[in-house]
Symmetry: C2
Subunit: 122 residues, 2 copies
DNA sequence: CGTCAATATTGACATCCGTCGAGGCAGGCG
DNA sequence: CGCCTGCCTCGACGGATGTCAATATTGACG
């Protein structure tokens, strides 16, 4: 954990964790394990500050933004950093360092999978 | 709060609270108030037990189920009741008493609004 | 090398939240 | 009426979570 460069922040492979998780929730009940993994994604968006940060990034030019672009959400800088980490760990964001700045962008496949999960057309 | 029959459980009107909330998260940043209201919905699905209960109801015949149909998720009956209440308060479920049983069904408009929120096609 | 700016981490604290057992209420049935 | 079944509410407890100040880290620039 300590010998990893920040240039490639360590995130579990999105494909393996959350992306093609489950069929729409109408198709069949989720297993306990599926529910456990899926809940992490919804929980990540279940906080007002994180939801604002996510929408700030998603609506930003190119679907990415550096932390300095989105830090004005009414909480301290460490708290912003904490929330961005949560969103990244949930697989919803990826990050990349460029010079002094760290850029976050949305992980489209993961977000699309969440959206598909809520597709109620049987 | 005490003079209300259980037959019509008191839920805030979905139309007023969450249903037509916001455009896709890519369109513009959420305001603090929008984020506050929207986070309630995502938080409701951000728990494994609630996610299983929701999928059990959504995948059940007719998109509805009575509590006795879905109580086998590994927690006590009061806890099931607590989670169903959370989902109902978030606007994701509605409930109705029929004889001895209480039936829960998904609120399609609200769930569709959540799905649309995550639609990343700009 | 020293400094500065941007971001992350640590540690502490208060609050929130999931869980359970106990008990309450409503409706069906004898 | 009295009892049983299905579900909800209450109160308590422990663990998770959001927040901040302080500090660390990283990279750019003299």
């Amino acid at each position: 954990m300590s010998n990893l460069s920040v240039r490639e922040l360590p995130v579990l492979q999105p494909e393996e964790t959350v992306a093609p998780c489950c069929p729409p929730l109408t198709e069949r009940p989720l297993s306990a394990e599926e529910a456990e993994r899926t809940a992490v994604m919804f929980k990540a968006l279940g906080d007002p500050v994180r939801l604002r940060l996510f929408s700030l990034i998603a609506s930003h030019e190119g679907g990415e933004a550096c932390v300095c672009d989105i830090s004005d959400v009414g909480v301290s800088q460490p708290t912003v950093s904490h929330h961005l980490k949560k969103l990244r760990e949930a697989g919803l964001l990826t990050s990349e360092r460029r010079a002094t700045w760290v850029y976050y962008k949305v992980a489209p496949e993961v977000v699309a999978a969440m959206s598909a999960l809520l597709d109620l057309r049987h």
